[in-house]
Symmetry: C2
Subunit: 162 residues, 2 copies
């Protein structure tokens, strides 16, 4: 019943993060981390109107993830969890999702803040993150509710110290 789907990169993400182990795990722990999404010229027309959004989703390929684990210790906790309850790169499909701040657009380049993505990561899609669609009333966040904010900040930033 499994089907396969092939996608192509629409661009590349540039960031100051070159070592996976030192890269913040989420954009909330990457404030001040600048970066760019460079969209290949053939797709650049699709960037029209982006500049009006303060936040965007980047969907990308975890190009340094070469294993799959169904149970994994998440970055924030030393207890094994089901992979789909975590944001780890070691997923059956190595698809990453980040919400980053869009600072401005310069032609086919999006200038970003809050970049939690390794330099050179292939970009698959961009979607707007909007007030109408993406703010949901979270009631509970599973095992994450066991992690206090100070611990989350420390473990979430990893080597990043700006």
């Amino acid at each position: 019943m499994t089907e396969t789907f092939t996608y192509r990169s629409i661009g590349i993400i540039h960031s100051e993060h070159t070592i996976a182990e030192n890269t913040p795990i989420q954009s909330v722990y990457a404030k001040g981390c600048k970066g760019q999404a460079e969209i290949f010229p053939e797709f650049a027309a699709g960037l029209q109107d982006m500049e009006g959004f303060s936040h965007i989703y980047l969907i990308y390929h975890f190009h340094k993830s070469h294993q799959v684990k169904l149970l994994v210790k998440p970055f924030l906790q030393d207890i094994e969890r089901g992979v789909f309850s975590t944001r780890t790169p070691y997923r059956p499909n190595a698809i990453g999702l980040s919400i980053v701040e869009l600072l401005n657009r310069e032609g086919n380049i999006l200038h970003l803040d809050g970049v939690d993505i390794l330099d050179g990561t292939p970009l698959l899609d961009i979607k707007p993150y909007t007030a109408k669609f993406d703010l949901h009333a979270v009631k509970c966040s599973g095992w994450q509710d066991e992690v206090d904010e100070q611990t989350a900040q420390r473990r979430g930033k990893r080597g990043y110290n700006k």
Copy 2:
């Protein structure tokens, strides 16, 4: 410079939506739309710990989208916009993203509410949507800020009238 990446479906989404034109465009317009994410047995172990989260991201393949448009009229407005500033299925990579409410888990089945996805859609990934990671201070939502809430509700629900 374009690279290609092949992913396989990890499951299938079941919903009451069988006609694309009548399917709500976002989960915020799909309150009361129940559905299930059925995960194939080989990946089911990765669902451990999911049941603690009130909301999850589903990442899936728009299997009924067979064209690409770089400029497209979004569902909420009759003005052409860059595809990456919209959530249209007609994207260079036909990847869909929904935030749905997780009601409960029964083995390899996740029972969901707010399902804005066509029945039979191949599922690529599941990630938790959490208080720590996914609530960002939206400052502006581009062209969507021009659409009043009443219009958005009407156009967003499309044929759906629960």
